[in-house]
Symmetry: D2
Subunit: 131 residues, 4 copies
């Protein structure tokens, strides 16, 4: 299991009137992290969409918010593919600011044909690179 680290500064527009990052941004950070994963394994998401006509969809999402994150913080998202079969795959994410664990999350996905949105097997070009 490969653990990747995705670094990401907090943008001001991601904060809310509580003075912290709004919770709805974490699913977006996780999406960015998955984009980084696909690049790291040599199959960037734009390529997946255009060459294989495949979209990745989110089936479920969970986040636990442990500590608030603020403007000026840099997030270190340590994450990995924790499960995968022919159709489905899961990622887990730990969001740190410095050594402090601020949130944990999990997402479950599958692939679909872009035309008809039918669920398909994970394309072998992607599957063989997943680790």
């Amino acid at each position: 299991m490969m653990v990747l680290e995705y670094l990401r500064k907090v943008n001001f527009y991601e904060t809310d009137a509580q003075g912290i990052v709004h919770h709805s941004n974490y699913p977006r950070y996780f999406e960015e992290a998955r984009g980084y994963y696909l690049e790291s394994v040599g199959f960037p998401y734009p390529k997946l969409r255009e060459q294989l006509n495949v979209d990745v969809v989110l089936l479920s999402l969970s986040v636990e918010y442990l500590k608030p994150v603020r403007f000026g913080d840099t997030l270190s998202i340590k994450f990995s593919l924790v499960q995968s079969d022919s159709y489905f795959f899961k990622f887990k994410y730990d969001v740190f600011v410095e050594s402090s664990l601020c949130a944990v999350g999990e997402t479950k996905h599958c692939c679909i044909n872009r035309e008809n949105r039918k669920v398909i097997k994970i394309p072998k070009e992607l599957k063989e690179r997943m680790k």
Copy 2:
């Protein structure tokens, strides 16, 4: 247990290049629904913040995405407070488009003092109205 229905049109800016509502909007819809709940029980969130100096924070979030939702759809979010003690409370949400269940979600919350962000008991002014 009171079940509320929050109706909400999909905005174009909430869609993504898959042609569907981006998953990061559902936590925002749930937040809107909770705002509607607080109004319905007679204690709107702005009042909670200003009169009692209290913020509501999100401790955890989960969403299952069952069917895509599109621009032009009107969401019917049926939701209720499903659990509550002196400190914590949970909401469950069913997101429908017409009679079709498109997503289910759950959020867990507590209240904090706005100055020091310490967890506090649910203020009695709110607690006595919760149902």
Copy 3:
């Protein structure tokens, strides 16, 4: 010239750490207002996209921010189509909170064919309703 009023509560997730609505939300409010315009003239945007295969694009945008808007406020957006020829059309927007003018904006648009993104004349089905 028809002046429409679009009412819209501020959502908490639209605020930022300055405690006010983040400026990037105003273009979204204007888009919602235009959606309301298209409904009001009897040609909702989803219908325009699906029946005529037409998209409306934004060519330019300007906003002047006069007073901050906060969570708890209800926006009254008074707006109208201020200019229109065969290809292009402009809207102007005044954003009020109660009697206080908080922002003014302007947007310029044209229509495109959804397949090839070529600029087309405003479809006559829409043009004849515009006022």
Copy 4:
């Protein structure tokens, strides 16, 4: 006049159902670019907020959208401070994808005291670094 270049990949969640980046993201990209400017002149925005108790506010914004930008694109935002007196300052932005100019924008700002939101002179600590 210093011209800076801020590089930024498009995130999937920034696209819309037209398959392009939604226009409301450009003001956010400009904000990120200004953050990069403040870092480049040695006075990051979080420091400005915390050490000097100063917020920067947006007074006006304009964007011209010349060509659509898509997922998979990397934006090169070339921008500079084009005007500045004791109170006000303006930035201009050119957004490129490769050699193609896709959008131009302008923003006008001033500084405020964070407590009372009164307009103040640009703090000398910042002013002396602006170029």
